[in-house]
């Protein structure tokens, strides 16, 4: 492509966005112009979509409904629901101050802390499970002391929450850091001049402006926690109703027959898809409303 052509495309791109509300004829030419981009994007879209379709296509609706009433399946779903909600709440409660600190202050060792936050994302979940076991296990660094107090974490729902939090918290912290950093700090300073306390400032200025990033981050954390398998099975083990989450039930289901695993996977897939879509829609609604007012 010559320079002249490139310039032309750029110019046209700008002009089409200006006439975005012209009738369908204009829209059609716009699609044609972006054809190359659409074709280039297609492989990735297909790669992501086809396995999902393959999974759901294998699970007839009546079987999904039949499996939902299965005691072990419903226990796994219930456990997954309440552990992931707990994980998300814990992450928001403990991750927000850290994200605020990282976004607003400069201090020695900040780079190291920043890397530490990213570490669970690179660490294989099974390694995270082993690390947690060596920390909170009966003979772990902290676990030994906790055991003396009569608190044993492995093989309990608390272990499930710890495993999920460990691997999924970075999503929320990272998103919230970016969200807070994008809020103009002079707004907070102005509030401070007016005598507002830190919490009040955060609640009335920072949070409303950073909420889209924060809520999206929380949803990513929830979604990652819902899919968590490796750390959970090593640290929390597998016991129906106590530590057997949906992913673990899927894995063990795969060991008996493919069908039950497929059905559970489809349930997980549809539920996550639904929740993420609803949250995105709600966020968009709240943003547009805020723009209008």
């Amino acid at each position: 492509m010559s320079d002249g052509e490139m310039m032309q495309t750029q110019v046209e791109e700008i002009s089409t966005s200006e006439v975005a509300y012209t009738p369908s004829a204009g829209r059609r030419t716009r699609y044609l112009r972006h054809l190359g981009l659409i074709i280039a994007s297609a492989p990735m879209v297909l790669f992501l979509a086809i396995p999902m379709i393959a999974l759901v296509a294998q699970a007839p609706l009546e079987e999904i409904i039949a499996r939902l009433t299965d005691r072990q399946v419903s226990m796994a779903i219930a456990l997954s629901v309440y552990t992931t909600i707990t994980t998300t709440c814990v992450t928001v409660a403990l991750g927000t101050p850290l994200a605020y600190l990282m976004a607003r202050y400069r201090f020695r060792g900040k780079k190291m802390l920043d890397t530490l936050i990213d570490l669970p994302l690179v660490l294989p979940p099974s390694a995270a499970g082993i690390a947690l076991l060596l920390t909170f296990g009966r003979h772990g660094i902290l676990g030994e002391r906790l055991a003396d107090l009569g608190l044993q974490i492995p093989f309990t729902p608390l272990a499930v929450v710890l495993a999920q939090t460990f691997v999924s918290a970075p999503f929320y912290i990272r998103a919230t850091m970016n969200g807070i950093a994008s809020v103009d700090s002079s707004l907070e300073e102005a509030g401070m001049v007016d005598g507002a306390g830190t919490l009040r400032l955060f609640w009335s200025i920072t949070f409303p402006l950073a909420r889209v990033a924060m809520i999206s981050g929380a949803i990513m954390t929830w979604a990652r926690a819902l899919g968590e398998f490796g750390a959970t099975i090593i640290f929390a083990g597998n016991f129906p109703g106590r530590t057997q989450t949906i992913p673990i039930a899927i894995y063990l289901g795969f060991n008996i027959n493919l069908e039950s695993a497929v059905v559970l996977s489809s349930i997980l897939l549809c539920a996550s898809f639904g929740v993420i879509m609803i949250v995105k829609w709600a966020l968009k609604q709240s943003v547009t409303r805020a723009d209008i007012y």
Partner: protein
């Protein structure tokens, strides 16, 4: 570790599927042959050594082992993963391989046997006898019933409950002590080795590989022990049929059986 395997599974399947499409990796290179052995996780130690000795005896042959739960291996092969030899930890999964048409009906041969033992952490012995397994408060880790060893464990508990000394509620009491049903036998052993559990039930072959300073073993009497028979078979679609046959012969040979015995298995012909 099995959980990692599960993550690798999908990508591995993809890679293998692509490999099939292009005629298989390395299958075309002249002179050198690669024999792919799918073997149950409990065979990890023994088959690694058997593979090495087989390689040494057959020039230009490379043995690639894939260790996982027998049921995982059957599913992988069913989904198109190429294998030459399949060694299962139980007859049930070998039957499944036959049903899927992966293995000829008359191909499987029992090559080794295994039985169950109770393992406990050496330094913290809450459980010192079979009876202690049912003592309130003991933390017991078993293999999940979905995997062969978990199935055998249930059979053992059923048989033990018939012993008046242990009591007919023995199984019930033991199950009340269970804190986790692990997804594979190595995970059971690991939890006991780490001292997270007071006792676990594993194969004698697993106990044989455990660090002696960390794990002690309680034998289960033959009266309620369950013997697992391991069948081995040549995979129907194997591109190296002759080599696969030689491999199976080697496993069944005196040398192969000696290696298996070193790893805590019961050679065939001795038990039963």
């Amino acid at each position: 570790m099995c959980s990692q395997l599960r993550y690798l599974l999908l990508s591995a399947l993809l890679v293998l599927a692509l490999g099939c499409g292009t005629g298989g990796i390395g299958s075309s290179s002249s002179g050198s042959q690669t024999l792919t052995v799918f073997a149950a996780a409990s065979l990890t130690g023994a088959f690694t050594q058997i593979g090495k000795e087989f390689e040494a005896a057959h020039q230009g042959v490379k043995v690639v082992n894939s260790f996982a739960g027998s049921q995982d291996l059957v599913e992988q092969m069913h989904q198109g993963a190429p294998a030459d030899v399949f060694a299962s930890a139980d007859e049930k999964n070998m039957q499944k391989a036959i049903d899927y048409g992966l293995v000829e009906k008359d191909s499987p041969r029992t090559f080794v046997r295994n039985h169950l033992v109770v393992v406990t952490p050496r330094d913290d012995q809450k459980v010192r006898s079979l009876e202690d397994l049912s003592a309130p408060g003991a933390k017991v880790v078993l293999a999940s019933q979905e995997v062969p060893v978990g199935n055998y464990t249930m059979q053992f508990l059923d048989l033990a409950s018939r012993d008046p000394q242990l009591g007919n509620d023995f199984k019930q009491k033991v199950l009340a002590n269970v804190v986790s049903y692990e997804d594979n036998v190595k995970a059971v052993l690991q939890k006991v080795t780490l001292g997270e559990a007071d006792a676990g039930v594993v194969y004698s072959s697993d106990a044989a590989t455990a660090p002696r300073d960390k794990v002690s073993t309680i034998e289960i009497p033959d009266a309620y022990n369950v013997t697992a028979s391991y069948p081995i078979a040549i995979v129907k679609n194997s591109k190296h049929g002759d080599l696969a046959r030689q491999y199976v012969e080697f496993v069944l040979s005196a040398r192969g059986q000696t290696i298996l015995k070193q790893y805590g298995f019961i050679p065939v012909g001795k038990a039963k």
